[in-house]
């Protein structure tokens, strides 16, 4: 892939930015990126893209905007309001939300109350199995921080489970 500006060198830097309803993509070589002030983040990608107007329909087809399949809420709605359309939106916009949630909250995983209906023996077992899988994966990719969190979570659920079993007896 060649650089969009000089059209000579190989593009090694790729920028994506959503402006209004459109997804803009631009591929640059390192030199041109530096010249445009993009490599060190000294100028905003949006401003750059708006000025350059890379949206001209030259080569790439327009990318369709991300939209919740359940409620029709779009990424631009989310960006404008900071709110979501429906519970399913959390899955639809998961990639984008992850960073937001991380910067906002203490963690990115719920700990705390669980509705009873989702807490019955069968679902808890299922939950533990899921967490086990996640734990194995975390170990495999050597994300030990995450693995530790998962291990504690599994422990916590097991203790809770035992407590509620004890109560029944």
């Amino acid at each position: 892939m060649l650089c969009n500006i000089c059209k000579q060198k190989r593009a090694t830097l790729h920028f994506t930015k959503i402006v209004g309803e459109k997804v803009h993509k631009i591929d640059l070589c390192e030199d041109c990126a530096k010249k445009q002030g993009l490599a060190d983040g000294s100028i905003d990608v949006t401003d750059f893209l708006l000025g350059l107007d890379v949206s001209q329909p030259s080569d790439e087809p327009e990318v369709e905007e991300l939209k919740c399949p359940v409620c029709g809420y779009t990424l631009s709605h989310l960006k404008k309001s900071g709110r979501l359309g429906c519970p399913e939106c959390y899955n639809t916009f998961a990639d984008m939300l992850e960073g937001i949630l991380k910067s906002m909250h203490k963690g990115v995983r719920h700990v705390g109350k669980i509705p009873n209906a989702q807490h019955s023996g069968k679902t808890v077992a299922e939950k533990i199995r899921k967490l086990q899988e996640e734990l194995e994966h975390a170990v495999a990719i050597e994300d030990f921080e995450r693995a530790a969190v998962l291990r504690d979570e599994i422990k916590r659920i097991r203790v809770k489970l035992n407590e509620s079993e004890d109560k029944k007896l």
Binding site: G85, C86, Y90, L101, K106, H110, G112, P115, N116, K127
Partner: protein, 356 residues
């Protein structure tokens, strides 16, 4: 039923007592919950909002906590009634502007209030006088546990309770205490306190007005994070911080009296002088002066005067409360005159601040 007949009379409200209530006016815990498979109220169609309301409202009304309660759709409340509920902290400003498909259900005695289709399908709160955060939490947690048996909540094992705004996702909990901090404000330490509390991930706001312009020296401290921490941890953190602020305020009051007694008496005496003699007073001015009067009562400068007097005046001097009591006061200027009349009348047998 008339809303005013349902609400606890202002003198009764003012007489309620709780731990540390010289400083902690009230404790509140709010939970945000949503139904599965229905868009959040801000994005749902009107039909969907009504459908959601019809699912939730009977369940909420039938809670044992709501026995003898008051339930109404928002369209049926007059603007004045809505304002009254805001002043009682029973609905939010956002909820007051909602119309079709929104409702509120309140318990007799006003401990519980559940807003239906505010920003989330359900916003439920328990509000208690004084420093009783844990008790407020237990009360609203019970309500939530009863409701979840009948309603299908939107919940994800990874993100917890799903809410319209990502700031509430997870536990959906907002724990807050309303504080009266005239000592810290007079000692000019409020900005330091606000900064220190902010650093702990908690928010401090003026209860009326913004930031340090907090009217009447009333502040609200609350948690901002809801994900990645259990309810009880959030609660404990807030309890600790509130306890520290209470101690700080007590110390500030003691120190002011020791080191700057004349200045303190001067502030309180002047506030009393205006309250007891003015013929027109805005609610803003009343709040600020009543705050100093309340401090004077706490100091014992007004013998035989109970704090309930200042607290009742705080309540009835607010625009909607005043207009309900005196229906012919539609204009702010008219209310300013009536407000001053009420305060003068209540203070006529009270002498200026004295110390032994």
């Amino acid at each position: 039923m008339n809303l005013l007949d349902f609400l606890t009379p202002s003198p009764e409200i003012a007489k309620r007592e709780g731990p540390d209530d010289t400083i902690v006016i009230s404790s509140r815990v709010r939970l945000a919950r949503n139904l599965k498979n229905i868009s959040f109220p801000g994005w749902a169609t009107k039909q969907d909002r009504i459908r959601a309301m019809d699912l939730m409202r009977p369940a909420v009304e039938n809670l044992p906590q709501m026995k003898d309660g008051f339930s109404t759709i928002m369209d049926e409340l007059s603007p004045l009634d809505k304002q009254l509920l805001i002043e009682r902290h029973l609905i939010s400003r956002e909820h007051a502007v909602k119309s079709a498909g929104s409702a509120v259900v309140m318990s007799k005695g006003e401990i519980f209030s559940i807003m239906i289709n505010e920003e989330d399908h359900l916003r439920m709160q328990a509000l208690l006088p004084g420093f009783q955060l844990e008790s407020a939490f237990n009360k609203i947690d019970e309500v939530d546990t009863l409701l979840e048996k009948q309603l299908d909540y939107a919940f994800s094992s990874k993100l917890g309770y799903l809410t319209a705004c990502p700031t509430n996702v997870g536990t959906g909990i907002r724990v807050s205490a309303m504080l009266h901090l005239p000592g810290i404000v007079l000692a000019e330490q409020i900005n330091q306190i606000i900064q220190a509390v902010n650093k702990l991930g908690l928010a401090v706001r003026g209860l009326y007005g913004e930031g340090t312009d907090a009217l009447g020296n009333f502040f609200q401290v609350s948690n901002q994070q809801t994900l990645g921490e259990e309810e009880l941890q959030i609660l404990e953190r807030l309890q600790k911080v509130v306890a520290q602020i209470v101690e700080h305020e007590s110390n500030a009051r003691t120190l002011l009296l020791e080191k700057q007694k004349t200045a303190v008496l001067n502030h309180i005496g002047r506030a009393y002088g205006i309250l007891a003699n003015a013929y027109s007073m805005s609610s803003k001015e009343a709040m600020n002066l009543l705050s100093l009067f309340r401090l004077g009562i706490d100091y014992g400068f007004f013998p035989n005067t109970i704090r309930a007097l200042s607290d009742e005046l705080f309540l009835i001097c607010q625009p909607a409360h005043l207009q309900k009591l005196y229906p012919n006061t539609n204009e702010p200027e008219e209310r300013d005159i009536v407000r001053a009349d009420i305060i003068r009348e209540r203070l006529k047998d009270i002498k200026g601040p004295i110390t032994k």
